[in-house]
């Protein structure tokens, strides 16, 4: 099925990769782990994680899962914190273009496989699609129980009082459940699972999703899964029910509401705006003629505003507050830090 492919890049010497980089035996091993994970929703399956030609922080677990399930006909989308254009997303997309020669896209609807770090797209996923999450720490109980033997036993016995203790501590310290990302869920009323550092805003999208959801943790050597149409419930208390983040204003570029927004700094005088974290969603809406308060003057509505940023997005929006593993990215938004940087920013990538 997956014949060895030759790297298409003409500028390179003729390096021969196996299709999607990993050898067939390794891919079979990973597929077995994936099948087991699908059979036991939410259960962490150990696998023999391989070294990949990129650092762990780049999502080698997700990359290995994608490599193992990728076929020649697949269309791949790669996002990092909602954006198709961060260094990380571009690197992984290029990696698979080079090693597998598959088609890639930024459009959620057109993708058959979506590899993601820190977000689930706003567009509803469909049956037949697979979303692959990059996971840094797969064990949701680690916060209170560092012993691996013990956490395994707790999962085995569905003994999850400890997880509730963590939420209790949150409320005791902050007055509400302050966990805003990697918010623990219970899958099919059995296993408690870490959804990876997506904002809790995305948690409800995991419930009863028509898409297959796969999770890969490279450094920690674990794979887990949520098969299509599986119940996924965010943990909470009766008197402190789970709530997603709400945003006061719509997206400044496309006017979308009910989506996850990133704050963008416009200048050093406190100017800022909120825009869709999902760049494809935002671009699609703008193309459909939707506008926001900061839409460019050429948009349908009279454009009131300066500066008028292009819809292009720089890298590095970090809604989770987790320091990015990318060297030089540092969790800040270098290309958006100043008005100039943003206004001129990377217009070549405008979509």
């Amino acid at each position: 099925m997956n014949a060895p492919a030759t790297a298409p890049a003409s500028s390179m010497p003729a390096i021969t990769y196996n299709f999607a980089y990993l050898d067939e035996q390794t891919k079979r091993m990973i597929r077995r782990a994936i099948l087991k994970a699908i059979a036991i929703p939410g259960y962490q399956v150990p696998f023999a994680s391989r070294e990949m030609p990129m650092p762990y922080g780049w999502g080698t677990g997700g990359v290995q899962v994608t490599a193992a399930i990728l076929g020649a006909d697949d269309v791949l989308k790669v996002i990092d914190q909602g954006s198709d254009d961060t260094t990380n997303a571009v690197a992984i997309r290029t990696f698979f273009e080079t090693t597998a020669g598959v088609a890639t896209t930024t459009r959620t609807q057109d993708a058959t496989i979506i590899q993601t770090r820190h977000r689930i797209p706003e567009a509803e996923l469909k049956a037949g699609q697979t979303i692959v999450f990059q996971v840094p720490i797969p064990e949701p109980l680690r916060f209170l129980e560092p012993r691996e033997t013990e956490t395994r036993r707790l999962h085995g016995l569905a003994d999850y009082g400890l997880m509730q203790v963590k939420l209790y501590e949150d409320i005791a310290r902050h007055g509400h459940i302050a966990t805003t990302y990697a918010y623990p869920v219970k899958v099919e009323d059995r296993y408690v699972m870490d959804p990876s550092p997506i904002p809790k805003f995305d948690n409800p999208k995991m419930n009863d999703s028509p898409a297959l959801q796969l999770f890969g943790a490279g450094r920690e050597k674990r794979i887990y899964a949520i098969p299509p149409y599986t119940q996924v419930v965010s943990l909470d208390f009766e008197d402190h029910p789970f709530k997603v983040q709400a945003f006061k204003e719509p997206c400044a570029l496309c006017g979308a509401t009910g989506v996850y927004l990133d704050e963008v700094i416009l200048d050093d005088k406190g100017g800022r705006m909120f825009v869709c974290s999902d760049t494809d969603h935002c671009a699609t809406r703008q193309a459909e003629g939707h506008t926001g308060t900061m839409s460019a003057p050429y948009a349908a509505q009279p454009g009131p505003l300066t500066p008028s940023p292009s819809p292009a997005r720089g890298e590095g929006g970090n809604p989770t507050g987790i320091p990015s593993p990318l060297v030089g990215e540092g969790g800040s938004r270098p290309s958006r830090e100043t008005g100039e940087g943003f206004a001129t920013g990377e217009s070549g990538e405008a979509r």
Binding site: L144, R153, G156, L157, D159, G161, L162, Q164, V165, Y168, E169, I171, A172, R173, D236, F237, E238, D239, H240
Partner: protein, 259 residues
Amino acid sequence: MTTDTPLLTAQGLAKYYGHRLGCRDVDLTLHEGEVLAIVGESGSGKSTLLGLLSTELAPTAGRVAYRMRDGETRDLASLSEAERRLLLRTDWGFVRQHAEQGLRMAVSAGGNVGERLMAVGWRHYGDIRSEATDWLSRVEIAAERIDDDPRTFSGGMRQRLQIARNLVTRPRLVFMDEPTSGLDVSVQARLLDLIRQLVEEFGLAVVIVTHDLAVARLLSHRIMVMKSGRVIEQGLTDQVLDDPREPYTQLLVSSVLAA
């Protein structure tokens, strides 16, 4: 089922660590509301016995049976891991000498007390919190300390917090291994007082390991004296301590008097 049926029975219990004897030939019965002290010098097998009774250690020989809340007496070796854990965190308690082994040091006092409640399915924050507050006051910890973690507590407070954490599910049986040693004398006295009062109020059965005969005298109804892994004398606490039969017990008692 009658309350004459013992709560806990052990027969022919033995534990070897490789070739080294931990304890052997131990038989005992414990009734509801009864306090049994296990005394003996260091290395005599007290903690080993406690570990066997509480299922923390697997016996080399012998068996332990317990009358469950539903009235059925079960051989503890026959419990599934899930049943055993449920027993440990509902109907039993374990108070340890070193609080770090009995508490979650990075979790607030309220979280420590609430953990068992959450483990058995409590999901109402307000209810958990008010139950925790109530238990903190029972063990004389000020309500305003509820969000502090035990690292900020004194030794005596930590032991009292351990007790609250254990008693919150109203267990019928509590194991204690040297709960007062290492504490100042005045702190010890206050803790013993509290334990005695709670034992009475809740009709707790207790197996307490101590090398301090004064502790045994204050708290226990019955006493077992261990030497080199075996029980050499047992009976009502006052009788054994006032009129010890065995030369070894006489020695223990006299050394206490001398101290």
